[in-house]
Point group: C2
Chain length 281, copies 2
């Protein structure tokens, strides 16, 4: 699969008035994680239009994702000490810094989109709306809220799915939408990408739950067994390990089927879907 | 002074998928505070163009301000139990909820602007950029970071001023800019409004420091004496009470002078500047 590495650090004004804060931002962004969302935006773009994508929307996605991890790791939330193979931000610095850096990264994501070169104002407004909805109450934030309330509760499979569609699925779909909007995709093309995104978003979470049981902390770069320990509802609990693996396969196939209209030009998106389901971290 | 009351609650999708979260948002927004920022946006607009303003940018400002108060009140930050005359959000609910609701309100502010009726895409992009810069690392978030680091430290008057220009001044100036952009103001008009905003932003903070010493908790709706107790640098500490009062007067006059080009049509902005300096809460 074609590499899509980028450095969101380059998109931050790190010559801030505050050198300390610049150092914290560097810490937050220097380990870039799997970069699934940037890869999705990039591949959505190249599936519709061969050529080089404007990387700004891609960076905005990674800033939103990074801010959400920083806040999710806080003691009042998931209370995670490790992230991307090193101490999470509130452990390396302190809680106030983690709250503020998360807040600032969110603002910076929208600033980046508003200020992006080579995008029309129509594209920018559309992207900002998509990203704000996906990351707000009706998307990522709302899903995280349900997740936190769900500790020690019984959830049906439908409720678990609805939560993940908000918590992680919305930003996955927004990633594809941003790439598609950057490529001036048609409504039909954007709808097909969205259908693909819906299935890989869920597949991603099913595999996360499997890895939380089967994975090891070193490969994951975060504490394994955390969700089970916190008594959170997971796919593995509801479907069993084999059932969860079968569900991941079903979702993979549905994702691949959604890309039919694109023919060969969506091969990299198909490869990414397979990577999401077959990854070990 | 003409009233500019609005209800940012109306700008939230409170029929969210999550009734509990809707209740939290209502709690966060039902006591609307002084609404200085919405008033500034409204008056900037009406100073340039008599007529009714599109209220969307105004609501976006109040959402950003409210999110910042919710996060600032957290135990890891200013640790304030009272806000707007009632328990702050993390006391009424819990810390995780306060972090998430703040995050969601920020996203919603940008979504509102992107989705605003009666604004051109050019106006929207410009407003989003202004609001994101003012609320991010180079503005509100950066200023709050400096403020938290500044506990028990000695600051010069210049450093204190620079901090407040970021922490509260940036959003005050953004409020005026949003109103001015909505009114299609000229560069000269926007520059005059910005100059006015720079001075009232500082005046607002000087008066806050005075009220922190002289005010009572009931009128303020928050704990008085908090800053002195936390050993934070304040104007009163650096200038004395009389010196701070003289500085507030000087800033008021500079703010009024900045409005000269508008003639009588800026009378309400002049009244607002006087209110900011003469308020008792």
């Amino acid at each position: 699969m074609q590499k899509c590495r980028l450095n969101p650090k380059d998109q931050l004004p790190l010559d801030l008035l505050i050198p300390d804060l610049a150092a914290v931002c560097s810490y937050a962004l220097e380990e870039s994680g799997k970069q699934v969302r940037p890869a999705l935006a990039y591949l959505a773009f190249s599936t519709i239009t061969p050529g080089s994508i404007n990387l700004v929307p891609v960076s905005a996605l990674e800033l939103i994702h990074t801010y959400s991890l920083i806040h999710d790791d806080l003691p009042a939330m998931d209370d995670d000490d490790m992230r991307r193979g090193k101490p999470s931000l509130h452990k390396a610095f302190d809680e106030a810094t983690a709250i503020l850096v998360g807040d600032g990264l969110q603002a910076r994501a929208f600033e980046l989109l508003a200020d992006a070169p080579d995008l029309s104002v129509e594209q920018k407004v559309r992207m900002i709306k998509v990203l704000a909805q996906a990351s707000g109450f009706e998307g990522m934030v709302g899903g995280q809220y349900i997740d936190i309330q769900a500790v020690d509760s019984d959830m049906t499979l439908e409720e678990l799915q609805a939560m993940h569609e908000m918590k992680t699925g919305a930003l996955v779909r927004a990633s594809l939408a941003l790439g598609g909007i950057a490529a001036n995709g048609t409504d039909e093309q954007l709808a097909a990408l969205d259908e693909y995104g819906k299935h890989i978003g869920l597949a991603f979470q099913v595999v996360d739950d499997i890895l939380d049981v089967e994975g090891d902390a070193e490969a994951l770069g975060k504490t394994a067994g955390k969700d089970a320990e916190a008594n959170k509802p997971t796919y593995v609990k509801l479907l069993g390990l084999d059932g969860a693996k079968a569900e991941a396969k079903r979702l993979l196939q549905a994702a691949i089927d959604a890309l039919e209209m694109f023919g060969d030009s969506a091969d990299q998106l198909r490869d990414l879907a397979r990577y999401i389901v077959e990854r070990d971290r």
